[in-house]
Amino acid sequence: MRPPATRRLALLAALAGLSLSACSKEGRETSNGASVPREMSGKQLYDHWCADCHNPGPGHPGTLRLAGDMGEENSVLLQKQMDPEVVKYAVRNGFQMMPPFRPTEITDEELARLTDYLVKKQ
């Protein structure tokens, strides 16, 4: 486990709407086109990491597989009531064909925002 002090800092940062991370998955641009880090909202995180597999409609493998395993009514994350613990578990541990996502890809703070978006749909 990471040191408790780090976790407390992370929690404080999340509560304050700050990020300890300096990831640049969605970058702000400089004049020469280089990307500079920018924080992503829960929706932006969903769009970046989840949408290609989990959006509704054809061509989304997560949706296709969940329809087979869980039923059509449970196949679209944005149209289903989501348990926050399930979201966090699936992201960090993977769920069946879906691989886990490392903290270097989705930080704990980002995972909190992503989970909040998937639960509240806003």
């Binding site: 969605e26 970046h48 054809p58 061509g59 296709l64 613990e85 903290p103």
Partner: protein, 547 residues
């Protein structure tokens, strides 16, 4: 373990999820350490690394290390278990980390995005290896519109680069692997392929690398050897021996930056598809493709996809067949009828001014149309079809995840890649297809394959799906791929890249002159990484003395 009931329930149930149920079988008390490292020395090394990257970016606990396992593993998790992971943010941090690793003799395995799931994902070859996770080095350092290139760090995914170009209004196209979460650098140095006219990534896109050697020395290859060279990202060779190939599929250095040459958006783009009902059509199809590719009449990666690969992005196996073993012919025929696809499905695209596309299309139409049962489709004919849609995106460099659908074919699936390279020859393609399919069916799996002609060769990409929670099935697939490598080698076909479990075997198949190539690689390894800390076992290359 996350159960169906818990997923469907969708409310905050009181019962806690069992975080490691069946997923991670190595507990903290049994963490696998590198060969000769004591727990005390390992702890000291990690402390030194924490001082470099910060405590938050050294991972040694189970929840954080799950992502460094091979999610599609066919062997027990311990076979490729990492001892920990460290995630630097800069080249300077990489240098300092390698110094610590050298001092303590700790082997490190580099990953960029770690999403190459069919070949081992983010896991190391040797258990106990420390992961050097470069995902946090995710800056796009430069986009040059005039000369059509970008300079990126290893953590940049195709999706990152595409989104960035869109945001800044660039008119440059990327070329991406089929799953868009892959890394630009990782795929390049693993010699992966894409689907636009720049689909041979290393051949057509790479122009200048920055590499950190195991002793911490940073080199810029090609023209980068001259400080501030104006042609650094325009001309790849520089002066003297060209080194860049040494850092692909190897463990001679850590690539921390490269330039990727991009394609200017053409004035016109017309993706097309041609279906063929007969399984034997791969022979005349391949014969038709060869001259068109050699002459660049078909400018992009010419891809012939077998029925099940085509179908699996739109339907599941259980919708057509509920039994075990390979999908029977009756179900295959129904799929072809329902989805309006063939036993083989060819994808290509036209690029350029309308006049150019108009001029080349009749040539392609004549060549492919002469094959029995050929049916031609353009975008308007396939509206709403996921398969055509994602291929049309790939052939213009738009990242997406649709092809990951090949693992939706059966529940809880994983897959593994087997990729022999074949000359562009119809008889050889048919022979390869039939042999691989026969062995696959005998092993009880479905054949999932496609042939990609980048230019002068043909990659036969075979990606069978298996059930991750079925240990016997994993063992059976391991045995199948093992047999396929032997069979290909007996027919004088080499595999172009492979899963962690087969790196030694494939390396050994390149055995001419009593393994002269492997011995040469060993000499390079000893010279460039004398302590033997970089990625032991990558591509079957091991240090003389295992760290």
């Amino acid at each position: 373990m996350l159960t169906r009931r818990r997923f469907v329930q969708g409310t905050a149930a009181t019962a806690a999820l069992t975080h490691f149920g069946g997923v991670w079988a190595v507990s903290p008390s049994t963490t696998i350490l590198p060969g000769n490292i004591s727990p005390k020395a390992f702890a000291e090394a990690l402390d030194a690394m924490r001082a470099i990257v910060g405590k938050a970016y050294v991972f040694v606990s189970e929840p954080d290390l799950v992502g460094y396992a091979d999610h599609f593993r066919m062997t027990p998790v311990a076979t490729h278990a990492a001892s920990g992971a460290v995630a630097p943010r800069s080249v300077e941090e990489v240098q300092r980390l390698l110094k610590v690793a050298s001092d303590f003799g700790i082997p490190v395995w580099t990953i960029s995005t770690g999403r190459n799931l069919g070949y081992g994902g983010a896991a190391p070859a040797m258990p106990g290896t420390l992961m050097l996770d470069l995902k946090r080095m995710n800056r796009i350092l430069e986009v040059n519109e005039k000369h059509a290139y970008a300079v990126v760090e290893p953590g940049v995914s195709y999706k990152d680069l595409y989104a960035h170009l869109q945001r800044i209004g660039s008119k440059l196209w990327i070329d991406c692997a089929a799953p868009g979460w892959g890394g630009v650098v990782g795929n390049m140095v693993d010699r992966g392929v894409g689907y636009t006219p720049m689909g041979e990534h290393f051949l057509q896109q790479q122009c200048g690398m920055q590499v950190v050697l195991s002793d911490g020395t940073v080199i810029d290859t090609g023209m980068g050897g001259q400080a501030g060279d104006k042609a650094m990202y325009a001309y790849r060779y520089g002066h003297g021996p060209w080194l860049d190939g040494l850092f692909t599929q190897s463990n001679f250095g850590v690539v921390t930056r490269l330039s990727v040459q991009l394609m200017p958006e053409p004035p016109g783009y017309r993706p097309y598809m041609v279906t063929f009902p007969d399984e034997a059509a791969i022979e005349p199809l391949t014969e038709a493709i060869r001259p068109l590719k050699l002459a660049q009449i078909i400018p992009n990666a010419a891809t012939s996809t077998e029925l099940l690969w085509e179908a699996a992005v739109e339907v599941r196996k259980d919708q057509y067949y509920s039994g075990t073993g390979p999908t029977p012919d009756s179900a295959r025929r129904k799929m072809m009828d329902d989805l309006h696809v063939g036993a083989w499905n060819f994808y290509g695209a036209l690029y350029g001014p309308e006049e150019v596309m108009d001029a080349t299309w009749p040539i392609i139409q004549d060549a492919l149309g002469s094959i029995k049962g050929a049916k031609f489709y353009f975008a308007d004919d396939r509206k709403g079809g996921a398969a055509f849609d994602y291929r049309a995106k790939l052939m213009r460099g738009v990242p997406n995840m649709t092809e990951f659908g090949v693992v939706t074919w059966i529940p809880n699936a994983g897959h593994v890649g087997f990729g022999p390279v074949v000359p562009v020859d119809g008889a050889l393609a048919l022979d390869q297809y039939r042999k691989v399919r026969q062995l696959t069916h005998e092993a009880g799996f479905d054949y999932f394959g496609e042939f990609i002609v980048g230019w002068r060769d043909m990659h036969h990409i075979f990606m069978p799906a298996f059930q991750r929670d079925n240990e016997e099935e994993g063992k059976r697939l391991l045995k199948l791929v093992d047999a396929l490598i032997d069979d290909a080698a007996a027919d004088r076909y080499g595999v172009y890249r492979t899963h962690l479990d087969f790196m030694d075997k494939v390396a050994n198949s390149y055995s001419w002159n009593e393994g002269a190539l492997a011995r040469f690689n060993g000499k390079l390894k000893a010279a460039l990484d004398p302590v033997g800390i970089l990625a032991p076992g990558k591509s079957g290359i091991w240090p003389e003395k295992k760290a």
